[in-house]
Subunit: 300 residues, 4 copies
């Protein structure tokens, strides 16, 4: 517990993003609005939540000054919130309206308690390593860049045939991946798309970058765990094929064939609010069903 | 439904094997003994169940004449029963005292109904392909042989180092497997050890033999699905290493280094009693948790 | 060897398709044109090869009567040729201009001999099971259909999020696959995309349909080997997502969200010309490097 | 390059271990003995190499004072050498007499140059994290302990049935692994047995502990990458089963069923001699055949 709330005599400026697909969202918004005055929150809602906002609530934009961000939805909503705060060191409290998430901090039933703790500074702001990814043309010019908390994926487009990806680590060529795509992931993202593609679960405190091929045709290719300091460069070898970049499974772009995707650690982490009680392994057991039923064995 | 009971005016000679590790066993035995007179069963119990047997019950041995076999336990107990009946075409009714099995026919709550159907011949005797495996010395002499419903595994012994297995299919060498072991499985066994080692689920009606390496060092080796007519031969390449054969995870032997394991389809299948209601895929969904919780994804 | 040439006093009507990306193609075409008169070939070239065609050579279309088809390229060119002949039982001789293929019959150095054997009927026409796939709307109307020798894939589109596929076998729901896609493959296709996605190698004579998830989020989902008689139906659960169907990695279409992909065995197989000498396992060892170098182990 | 040779005016005390299975060993020994006087080596040979040793060469034991260790063989020989030096910070120069190893520093053709660089201190002593493993009884008493550079494996014995392993990380239970075994590996060992069992390749500079199940029956279990500071405890759940511990694939013991295997980082690393030229990724590409032939795809 890092008691970071002492100095905060003034209002806590709290941004709010939410996923309207959850039935619980209106009730959650009411609880939030009810508690805000007594907890000293100064609220700002993203435009999608405007109809929940009384006059006193500001509109949340990329440069709204914030002391904390509340995300109402699942891990995906928190990922979106993380992009909104960018490199700013704003702690993010995710309230999970669906099943227990890897990133969210509590469920809807704990909202009241969580908001009180947030107001009191009674939480731990867990730093999660993020990635900085760029689309770089052959001349070395950065055309686009993204910040990612989970993963950056270079993937063949819809009907594309076999693609070969050349991969460099710190400038050293490490091989040609015949594959559907290459996932470059943080430890946080290791339980997302990288896991589906056969990557390991990396505990968030192991600062590292995970490179996982998707459906590799080169059968001996295996997921790689690199130091967090590594620079990963990936380029499709076969010029005419259509390639796509996807960031945190949410945003993306088409990729010009001569372009490289260059990924390295972002300068600053994402701060995720944690309360005592649930651990990483508890979430893992629950989400992946470890110790549970998906087991082929018999007592006899 | 194959009505095979008409001709059976006389008693149905029913062998019984059971696993004493299940708490339900005594109650099950009582139900069986209570129902037997009215259903016309002539019972024979394996020696391990002798203390449940009144005087009228015979002792079950390998050559006791049988019209059907009842196994009380899990899939493992049914596998043991299948070895007891051997090539004899005796239908096996497995009552599962644990979690739903792949092979068993019903749970303890359905025992009464299942025994009545068995007596009436109101069931389907599903033929499941079996394997015949031999330990053959370099001169071609068979030292030992086994019958298997699930799988035959040639595996390195406890502290053995890396082992290389040469594998032949119908006399053609198909490669050297650097591995802990090689699993040769029926479709029935494809949901047992072969699945743990990375093999596919093969629907029992696809008559075939599955060859799956265990922890292959040769990274490009993949599970193979062969025609049921194939003869698979496996031999450890590195003479001094200790090798073991295990059959259906239950019986086995040490293997002399110059010996080959030769596996082909057994002449006759194992007959497993099926009642309407549960399908292979229903058991699969239940046992493997498909459609269930062991899923990494989030709604948002 | 099936001597099927006796009755063929008349010319052998030989269709030709080729891949212009191979440098050897012009030399191959010259050899073919030189040998044709003496071997009694009546040639028909696909439009892409028109500039190689003297006046005597016909233009090859979907309904040109054919006794055999020659494909000049790799496995991909042969797959294209197989779609051109469709259900017609025309043997296909694939000359591999690249690395040894799984489907092609010989390399460029064996062309002379292969054409003489083709003319003499001195070959074996190996039947390879094919698939018939349909896009079916909720009312049961077939919008499109395809014939496939390798595989049919239902896949999420470029930027689509997590997709859930409902899968039915013979009308029975077998589970929800959270995945990037689902590959439905013949044994022939088991060494193509299905293998990259983690599927087994199925020997072509094991008539079956292989269902392999691509990057499954549901971690316990495994590849399934079904009887050749099975009907597989797949439908995306989450309406708005963009889905694509790809056939043999070559042709495809966008998929309306309410549509189902229905796949079953095609009525007639593809006939692939085989000469004595190379076996399936020889090709497998060569292509996958089994027994080769991609091995982690050490002598000591 | 760390010039550590300046202070070494006196002889360099060089221990030598070797694997007699390599045909090159005698020639290597002659070169070593020829060069030793001029390079100022004071040699000590392990007993197995006694017949190569002139009178001036000492016998190498566990407590012979050493400035460096030379291992002649493969990675296995170096692992044995690493156990011999234990926690002492003695750099190990591995000469690979077989195929390129992950740990060895040079091949036999580079021996002359390598010994001159060793004498001159012209090398980099790469620290590789090691493990300390203990067999601990229920009362907390350590019965045995080992030091490992690659991995520690708790594995079922020969004919044992399904085993369940309970795993704790830093005292927190993380799940029950139904499996053949559990591999606890350093980054160095990630390219050894853990890789065969499906673990990722972890670059040696990512200090971490990798936990990989062997043939897990619990299908959703995945390899875990933990911080180097983690303490991993594993215990077989099913008392009567026979369990074995194997260290670096070389030494081991039977395990009493109530015992736990406790593994944490060793206090001091193993120092491996590196010369400029080959990188980790170059060795990986070579050993695993990346960018090589074991690829299923075709140009067309």
């Amino acid at each position: 517990m890092t008691p970071v709330g002492e100095e905060r005599k003034a209002a806590l400026r709290l941004g709010v993003v939410g996923h309207r697909g959850y039935a619980d969202l209106p009730a959650i918004m009411r609880t939030l609005l009810d508690l805000s005055p007594q907890l000293g929150f100064e609220l700002a809602f993203e435009p999608e939540l405007a109809d929940f906002a009384p006059d006193a609530v500001a509109r949340l934009t990329d440069d709204t000054p914030l002391d904390a961000l509340l995300t109402l939805g699942g891990d995906g909503t928190l990922l979106r919130g993380a992009r909104l705060v960018g490199e700013r060191q704003v702690p993010i409290l995710g309230v999970n309206l669906g099943r227990l998430g890897f990133l969210t901090s509590c469920g809807p039933n704990e909202l009241d308690d969580a908001l009180r703790r947030l107001a009191a500074g009674d939480y731990y702001a867990e730093p999660r390593m993020a990635l900085h990814a760029s689309a770089v043309d052959p001349g070395g010019t950065e055309r686009l860049h993204w910040r990612s908390l989970n993963d950056v994926v270079l993937h063949k487009g819809g009907f594309a045939r076999v693609v070969r990806f050349d991969v460099w680590i710190d400038g050293e060529p490490i091989g040609a991946y015949g594959a559907d795509g290459v996932v470059i992931s943080t430890p946080t993202g290791s339980t997302a798309y990288s896991l589906s593609a056969g990557g390991p679960v990396v505990v968030p405190t192991v600062e590292s970058i995970v490179v996982t091929p998707v459906s590799p045709h080169t059968l001996a290719i295996r997921p790689l765990v690199l130091p967090a300091s590594a620079e990963v460069r990936v380029r499709g070898r076969d010029g005419p094929e259509e390639l796509l970049v996807t960031v945190d499974g949410q945003v993306g772009t088409n990729f010009a064939s001569a372009e490289s995707l260059v990924v390295r650690r972002a300068q600053r982490p994402v701060l995720v609010v944690r309360f005592p009680g649930t651990t990483f392994f508890a979430r893992l057991r629950h989400k992946l069903g470890w110790g549970g039923l998906a087991d082929r064995d018999e007592v006899a």
